[in-house]
Amino acid sequence: MTLFDVVFSGADTVYGLAEGAINAAIEKHGADKAVSFPGTAYCLPCYYAVTGTKVTNLGELKEALGVVKGIETKNVKLNDVFMNGVGTALCAEFIEALKYLDGADPYEGTGCSGHLSDAIIRELGVPLVTGDIPGVAVILGKAPTADEAAALVKSYQAQGILVTLVGDVIDQCVEKNVNMGANVRVIPLGKDVTSVLHVVSVAVRAALIFGNVEPGDAAGLMKYTFERVPAFVNALGALNPVVVACGAGAIALGFPVVTNDVETSKAVNIKVPKSLIVQPDVDKFNATSLEARDIKIKITNIDIPVAFASAFEGEIVRKKQMQVEFDGSRVDCFELVQSKEMTEVEDHKIELIGPDFDTFEKGSKHSIAYIVEVAGKNMQTDFESVFERKFHSYLNCIEGVMHTGQRDMIRVRISDAAYEAGFRAKHIGEVLYAKVKNDYDAVVDRCQVKIITDAEMVGKLRHEIAIPAFDKRDDRLKSLTDESVDVYYSCIMCQAFSPSHVCVVTPERLGLCGAVSWLDAKATNELEPTGPCQVITKERVIDDRIGEYEDVNEAVKKFSNGALEDVSLYSIMEKPMTSCGCFECICGIEPMSNGVIIANREYAGMTPLGMTFPELASMTGGGVQTPGFMGHGKHFIASKKFMKAEGGIERIVWMPKDLKEQVAERLNATAKELYGIDNFTDMVGDETIAEDPETLLNFLTEKGHPALNLEPMM
């Protein structure tokens, strides 16, 4: 038997299962019964991406099965193997979709995720492009021992790799108490082998969302995933034909498969360089897989007794697991970066002033301050806040440490497990030192950290040093307007994913992902002059109203490799800036009220446009201009430049309640300043007020919302 025969037999098996399931479902529910996955704008995403056809009911699903039969040709070329692999994935998608009939939640209570929503994919966009998630591991099957399974999962987790699990390996991880969940980047998908489809669906939607791959362009899809989605498969245990057929689908998308099934590999010639690799030793799966997919892990060796990886960034330390807490809302706390003269800084000096964690009672609250003092020839005070903002991420990456807030409103929790592993105050200093030096080596020559737990001293320093420093910075930020600076910056960090998208970052318009402010871009440019952020001059104005410049257009054309000719900075209707797909929010026009609504990524409900966030989002992205829709960062909402060309923020008529609360203070301040309106957000609708345009219009009329009296947008 050849490898090809095995794939064909596996594909036939899965096809048979899908056929049986679909026929049974039609018999039970009738052909008109609706079929869909929750939280996606792409129907059955894999089938839609491959064929361009949207399946909405069981009858169409049956037709789709016929299409799959047609692509599963059985000649002896690799293309046949690829198509049988793809066909297997599609059949798996059909089988999984049937589980969701009637709005069922088939994975509830199983500890597994099943289908992953579009919102999750959009969240993954930024960390994937920045390399914070350097890869995606798909582990399926059963490891020789539970210990090996747990060790393998943890090895990826420690590297920040997103791990998805299918089959018995999930139980093995449960047995070994592996910390699982989306927040620690280990996602059990499901026990059935068909549930592997849910991660395939993520890769496929990434191509649609970020890559602007046209649905139906199967070749373009495969090219995108091969070149841009750093996923790989670890198949543990005996390979049966179904697993091999799934593997063929993975390889078709460009994802190598590593197996420990030596026996089958001897019986059938299955070894294929960089694609199908036999590694008998599960301990070496990690290294083998990373090499096969050319994934490089940024190594930051930090001398601390617990793990440090981006996978732990979302980890939550609950009260009962907490050893000690520092809470800026109750006691004095702060974090601060200060630039100093070279002579004032002794590199890698870490100083603790006050008692260490040992002396604190379990579960108690205390004051803390950590001051990172940096010096360097190219250091600028503007960078202080850039580094400081990263502390949140740095401290969260420590296993067993949770950090929220910023400046003097921080909260840090240390888990009992981390404490027991030996984590102490100086380790916070080690992490901050190592990361600042590592990430900003071009501007930081020396760095020292002071950690202060002496409550009295913290209080004194907070008022004498920290608050004045923050005030000074705020004044500087206020003075930073689009008009007051000479240059803007491009950001093409996302081009790994969205090859023709370019953000133009200005002081009043941060990148749409919310992660790159003008200062960030400036620092990035300083750190890496040929990197993703390049200086864009703004000398030749074409149209002040919409914010269009000849120099900006030239830059955009260059950085988008000719895909984009011109953009405006301040208009949503005329030449709007494009989106990669990673945007925090999407704003779209609401014709009845003459305004715009904004939905954020976290919002799962309906908007008055009759579309959910995923559906709205699917209309833009991929670096294409879509007048009337615009992706943007949350911070941009309160900017004076927010769709200035169309009248500015007074066009905002609706936002989800959570988002509204987040931006209220700044948005109200801007409304007051621009139009003299008090409490503007009270006039803005949300989902508790209206989810349809008529109700919204009534509400807006009642409140006298200013948008109603503005010029029509269209």
Partner: protein, 630 residues
């Protein structure tokens, strides 16, 4: 795929037609005209049934006259002709190899020729049993050269390089008395056997043809390749361009043509010399462009990225551009027509070798000892000729493609190392390629070689065969004029991966290679022999079991027959698109297409229909796969 598109044979022909218009204006002759004059060809000659090896004849065999005056039958006559044809080719390749040995022998630290690839020299020294420890590099080089030269006339033993073969093939050859002895001896023995009154037994004549060919492939040619690498560097992947569009109307154009890199390397060296470039500017040009034709072009393309102006049947086109200041030739495949043609233009036709003397040429005798001076004189001559150009005759077709060339065996192994996984694999082997083949991702490999021949629409067979093969997940290694046809069409552009089946495409992407790998000039077919030998050794299979075949669809020279014989002798089935003058004898034809398999593990297939030829190759590859259960 972006803006990538293959250049079609129709486009080649349109460009040629435009150049022939210029030719007609100046009264130039052309091969297209001469083919017409020579058609129809002599039927006796075509069938190989004409014998003129003694003065009693010529005799030609017909149903009414089935034997010559001496009584030799048609099989003996066809067999002898075939053997002499082979001997001509083997002598030619091998003498080229010998010339390179002499050049290596003259290499010196401060000489015109130096050792560029020391590691390869050391490897050869070890293979030849030459002491290296504590010795001067050039002492070693000279002794290696001498041992190599002795291979031509040594009284005893087989060719040393035969030890590179897997034992299974070498043993088969020894057993069947096909293992080549001294190179010159095999040529001389062939001539002896084909003398009046010697062999007329088809079996003996075919066997000697194979042995003589093997003396070329595993002797003279292999030495030519290996020693060229020592002197000029082992080729590594390098980007270049191909087709007439590489010539530059603003520059002095020097075209090198022939086979021996000793001359062309030196020309390239001096064309790059700032002094020469300045001189060219002084003479009104913007610079100097060296491009190549035929295998000398392959040699300098592989090592220096020098662009390829064209292959065998494009040699006259180079002059017809009206922009060629000098066409500098060494040996083999040079049309005597270039002399009269050059007189229709300002072009200098410069012959350099006592082996290839031609009327109406400027003879600047090139010698290894004075290579630098000779080359400088040639470059200067070309520069000074720039002013004589007739602008109204200048037309360079705007036609070229990008190509990545330079896939020596060493380079291929390095590429393969790049797709290994250090956690599970060893490096320095051909195993990754074998894994691709055994798993079915690649179905097999075809070695495409050989010339152009007006009997086949030029380049069409090469290009069409390659297109169909790569679409069927069959990887191609190419050399000689076949490689240049591929490069001109665009098949050596990495973007040609999009023309491949899914399997070969993925291999191209992962290994970052084009689907057609340029392995060099025609002597470099020895590289292909080394490659299959390694594949056999790494897989534990016999060479004849590998799903690999050879193909020369447009061959024309004696060298090509010698090559065919050693490829078959190595155990690789060989497919020809032109009959080697053996159709007159059913017995000889049967031996070549069948009987020889018993002695070597392989045989010839002759098929003039290109579509059938490619299908026959694909079928053979699939048969071989089935036979070993993959």
């Amino acid at each position: 795929m972006g803006d990538f598109k293959l250049t079609t044979v129709e486009e080649f022909e349109a460009a040629t037609a435009r150049l022939l218009e210029t030719g007609a204006k100046v009264g130039a002759d052309a091969w297209q005209i001469r083919v017409k004059n020579q058609t129809p060809h002599c039927k006796f000659g075509e069938q190989g049934v004409c014998c003129r090896i003694c003065a009693m004849g010529p005799c030609r065999i017909t149903p009414k006259a089935p034997r010559g005056i001496c009584g030799c039958d048609v099989h003996g006559i066809v067999g002898r002709n075939y053997l002499k044809f082979t001997a001509g080719g083997a002598a030619t390749h091998s003498d080229h190899g010998r010339e390179i040995c002499h050049t290596l022998y003259l290499s010196a630290a401060d000489g015109n020729y130096k050792v560029k690839d020391e590691a390869k020299l050391m490897k050869l020294a070890k293979e030849f049993g030459v002491e290296t420890e504590g010795r001067d590099l050039y002492d070693v080089a000279h002794e290696v050269a001498e041992v190599g030269l002795m291979e031509y006339g040594k009284p005893f033993g087989f060719q040393k390089f035969l030890d590179r073969m897997p034992a299974s093939q070498k043993d088969l050859l020894v057993e069947n008395e096909l293992a080549p002895r001294a190179i010159d001896r095999e040529v001389a023995s062939s001539m002896h056997m084909a003398h009046m009154g010697c062999s007329s037994l088809p079996e003996a004549l075919v066997k000697q043809s194979i042995r003589c060919g093997l003396g070329d492939g595993w002797g003279g040619s292999m030495m030519g390749t290996e020693f060229s690498d020592v002197l000029f560097g082992t080729p590594k992947p390098i980007d270049t361009e191909a087709n007439l569009g590489v010539m530059n109307a603003d520059n002095v154009n020097i075209v090198v043509h022939g086979h021996d890199p000793s001359l062309s390397e030196m020309i390239c060296e001096y064309a790059d010399d700032p002094e020469m470039i300045a001189y060219a500017k002084e003479m009104g040009a913007k610079g100097i462009t060296v491009s190549g034709v035929c295998c000398t072009s392959n040699e300098v393309a592989m090592r220096r990225g020098i662009p390829m102006a064209g292959n065998f049947l494009q040699q006259e086109n180079v002059i017809l551009t009206g922009a060629c200041e000098a066409i500098v030739v060494d040996v083999q495949c040079i049309f005597p027509a270039l002399g009269p043609l050059s007189k229709c233009f300002h072009t200098k036709f410069i012959t350099t070798s006592p082996i290839a003397r031609m009327p109406m040429s400027d003879y600047i005798r090139f010698s290894s000892a004075n290579a630098g001076e000779n080359a400088k004189q040639i470059v200067k001559t070309a520069i000074e000729n720039f002013k004589n150009r007739k602008p109204e005759l200048v037309h360079i077709p705007d036609m070229k493609q990008k190509a990545t060339v330079g896939y020596s065996l060493e380079a291929i192994v390095k590429v393969l190392d790049g797709v290994t996984n250090s956690q599970v694999d060893v490096t320095g082997t051909t195993k990754p390629l074998l894994e691709c083949v055994t798993s079915g991702v690649l179905r097999g490999a075809v070695a495409m070689v050989g010339c152009n021949n007006p009997k086949i629409r030029p380049d069409l067979a090469h290009i069409e065969l390659m297109k169909k093969l790569i679409a069927n997940d069959i990887i191609i290694v190419a050399s000689g004029c076949s490689a240049q046809a591929a490069a001109k069409a665009g098949l050596m552009d990495k973007r040609a991966k999009d023309l491949c089946g899914a399997g070969l495409k993925r291999v191209c992407e992962l290994a970052d290679i084009p689907p057609v790998l340029h392995m060099g000039s025609c002597v470099d077919i020895s590289r292909m022999m080394n490659l299959v030998a390694e594949l056999a050794k790494d897989s534990g299979l016999k060479i004849s079991q590998l799903p690999v075949v050879g193909c020369a669809p447009e061959w024309m020279s004696e060298k090509a027959v010698s090559i065919g014989n050693y490829v078959v002798g190595t155990g690789i089935d060989t497919f020809l698109g032109v009959d080697p003058y053996v159709s007159g004898s059913a017995e000889v034809a049967e031996l070549l297409t069948g009987g020889v398999r018993e002695w070597t593990g392989a045989a010839y297939t002759v098929e003039k229909d290109i579509d059938k030829l490619v299908d026959a190759m694909i079928d053979r590859i699939e048969e071989k796969r089935a036979a070993i259960g993959i």
